[in-house]
């Protein structure tokens, strides 16, 4: 009985050590070289459509479906949305605050005021807060990474 219990404890420890340290989401990461989020944010047009590997803390997570995370920039006051296809990757809320290495394609899109209001309403609903359309002051360029794979540590 004791030896069985010891085996169970050992196996549990091995499982935690093997899988507890980091968790993979989606496809395998293929790139070796990292791109700084601050570089992408400083010059988004030059990265549009390019595959990048970024690293940073997860500062926000989609509460509704776990379909995006926001990755904090290497410089203060900046974060980039890492959007994944609904249901293909689901990020749990517990990843908030952990560090991630994430790969995907940079997307730069220009949105009209009407599109931004519609998008703002949807995001606010996902995040469980009110949305004030008057906060949209004009058309905007939205930068994000279309996520394919991530490792959360």
């Amino acid at each position: 009985m004791k030896s069985t219990m010891s085996l169970v404890v050992l196996l549990s420890l091995a499982f935690v050590l093997a899988f507890g340290a980091e968790k993979k989401y989606g496809k395998k990461i293929t790139l070796k070289e990292k791109t700084k989020i601050s570089d992408i944010m400083a010059n988004p047009e030059s990265y549009d459509g390019k595959r990048v590997l970024v690293e940073g803390p997860i500062v926000d997570v989609c509460r509704e479906r776990g379909c995006w995370i926001k990755i904090g920039s290497d410089k203060e006051f900046g974060a980039l949305r890492f959007k994944v296809e609904d249901g293909v990757i689901t990020f749990p809320l517990q990843v908030k605050g952990k560090n991630t290495l994430a790969e995907g394609i940079v997307s730069v899109k220009k949105y009209s005021v009407e599109q931004l209001i519609a998008q703002g309403k949807e995001t606010a609903k996902e995040e469980g807060r009110e949305f004030d359309p008057s906060t949209v002051k004009g058309p905007k360029t939205v930068l994000m990474i279309k996520g394919e794979g991530a490792v959360v540590k």
């Binding site: 803390p57 500062v59 509460r63 509704e64 203060e76 006051f77 689901t90 809320l93 517990q94 560090n99």
Partner: protein, 185 residues
């Protein structure tokens, strides 16, 4: 042994094997059906606190000052982030503190996964992927098998050619009729 006996054995034994997963998928199905009204995976709690406005010039100094004011131990802190000049976020296990630095107003967002239901939803929505995809597919095929064999368990007045046909018809008409109503209205 005639075909109906084999049919009934198959229906019974596959049915037994499906009890666990059917209950998991059904409970999770109800939970995620109402995701517009609640979060089926997590309980989210918000708390408002007020501390003295933060002191410090660098981010590190501000973090140390705020942690002391909130009585947060160093080993509890997972990460910190400043989304803008006036805000500091501190990330702890299942808790995020958003501090408005000039006023000292603090919003604490606590997240806890719902025990058992979270795991059921993960399985139902095939979050693990990999081998679970095969298990879930097999489960679906077995459900079809149980449904089909179920029609032939009994013969006579209570069988498929008796009252059974009405129940089977109702089970098909309800989704089709609703879809037509939804599509054309």
């Amino acid at each position: 042994m005639n075909w109906r006996r084999w049919n009934n054995i198959l229906h019974r034994d596959v049915g037994y094997a499906l009890v666990g997963l059917t209950v998991i998928y059904s409970i999770s199905g109800i939970a995620v059906n109402h995701r517009g009204d609640w979060n089926p995976n997590y309980t989210l709690r918000k708390q408002i606190l007020t501390i003295e406005p933060a002191r410090g010039t660098t981010k590190e100094e501000i973090v140390v000052d705020v942690m002391a004011k909130l009585n947060i131990q160093a080993e509890e802190l997972k990460n910190s982030f400043r989304p803008n000049e006036e805000t500091l976020q501190l990330f702890l296990e299942e808790r995020t503190y958003s501090i408005d630095l000039p006023t000292g107003n603090v919003i604490v967002d606590a997240v806890h996964s719902r025990p058992v239901l979270y795991e059921m939803n993960q399985l139902h929505l095939n979050t693990p992927k990999g081998i679970w995809t095969l298990i879930a597919d097999l489960f679906a095929v077995c459900l079809i098998l149980v449904a089909i064999t179920g029609m032939f368990v009994l013969k006579g007045k209570t069988g498929i050619l008796g009252r059974g046909i009405w129940f089977v018809t109702a089970g098909i008409v309800i989704p089709v009729a609703y879809w037509l109503y939804y599509w054309y209205s």
